[in-house]
């Protein structure tokens, strides 16, 4: 793993991103601002699952409206994040903060998959229900907490890299 990261970091693309005066900051700015689109829109869906916002809006409807934007933001984050990793693979790999960020990112992914493919199957019975089942609320709560962890350790990673 270590030598693979070394190889990635020292590749031509990795080196040119790292050493460019403008490319690295621009990619990082994209990474940070895409956060507003991805997690910034996803959080309203999570808060809806918790019953905090828009309690009158059917969950399936909000899902349809919000998810395309959250996914678009996530793709932007993933692409820009991959490029940032490419330029600093070795430092990231050896950083405890980055490992934690990655762990929480995977957990957030698992939480989303569990919701989409298991929890959501019974959506008919709680789509507009005033009392939201606990497993649905937990999916929203986990998503929020996991993303806070991803953002926090992402910020910490940046300090480790520089």
């Amino acid at each position: 793993m270590y030598s693979l990261c070394e190889l990635i970091q020292n590749s031509q693309i990795g080196t040119s991103i790292r050493e460019s005066l403008f490319v690295f900051p621009i990619i990082e700015a994209t990474h940070v601002l895409a956060l507003g689109l991805s997690v910034g829109t996803l959080v309203w869906f999570d808060l809806r699952l918790l019953g905090v916002v828009m309690p009158d809006e059917p969950i399936s409807k909000l899902h349809r409206q919000v998810m395309p934007w959250a996914v678009l933001g996530f793709v932007l984050m993933f692409v820009s994040g991959s490029l940032l990793f490419w330029a600093n693979a070795l430092k990231a790999y050896t950083s405890l903060y980055f490992r934690l960020k990655f762990l929480f990112l995977v957990l957030a992914g698992c939480n989303a998959i569990a919701f989409e493919f298991a929890t959501k199957r019974s959506i008919q019975s709680w789509d507009s229900a005033p009392a939201i089942p606990r497993k649905v609320k937990l999916a929203g709560l986990f998503s929020i907490l996991l993303w806070i962890a991803v953002i926090t350790f992402g910020r910490a990673t940046a300090y480790h890299l520089t």
Partner: protein, 160 residues
């Protein structure tokens, strides 16, 4: 004009808060994390309102209703950003003084907040009928551009 504010920046740099933040190893990163988490909420709530103004989401609800849901989040996220931003600024006031992106960010911030609480506010609270769609879309585009300017210039402070 900038140099006339130099004594003020010097004073900020020497306040006990600035000294305390500088002294601590974890204070700056911690405050910055709150700044970033609030940014997610601020940009996210603005994104929802702008997407509605453009007619991309929640079309069956009046703009004013969507605004009523998200505006309080925007406001409180902005408050967290301003207070955490103030602490970050104090701790490196002299660095900010010499940083062009900092001044550009403050310029954008002033314009954005002014636009948000006047023209944008009026459009999002009264624009219930669909007719003047163009006006709503222009407001969304201006809002998006201004907030983007604040964000980009802010990010640039760390690099330039």
């Amino acid at each position: 004009m900038r140099s006339s504010l130099l004594p003020f920046f010097r004073w900020c740099d020497e306040t006990f808060i600035a000294v305390a933040v500088r002294k601590s190893v974890i204070a700056f990163p911690t405050i910055e994390t709150f700044h970033l988490l609030a940014l997610t909420l601020l940009f996210g709530s603005i994104a929802m309102q702008n997407l509605r103004l453009c007619g991309f989401i929640m079309k069956e609800h009046p703009v004013s209703k969507v605004t009523k849901i998200f505006a309080p989040w925007t406001f409180w996220a902005l408050m967290v950003m301003l207070s955490s931003g103030l602490l970050l600024f104090l701790s490196e006031a002299m660095k900010c003084y010499g940083s062009d992106p900092f001044w550009i960010k403050m310029g954008f911030l002033f314009l954005t907040v002014a636009f948000h609480f006047t023209i944008y506010r009026r459009i999002t609270r009264t624009q219930d009928q669909p007719p003047t769609v163009l006006k709503a879309r222009v407001a969304a585009a201006v809002s998006f551009t201004l907030w983007l300017g604040v964000g980009l210039a802010g990010r640039a402070i760390a690099f330039i």
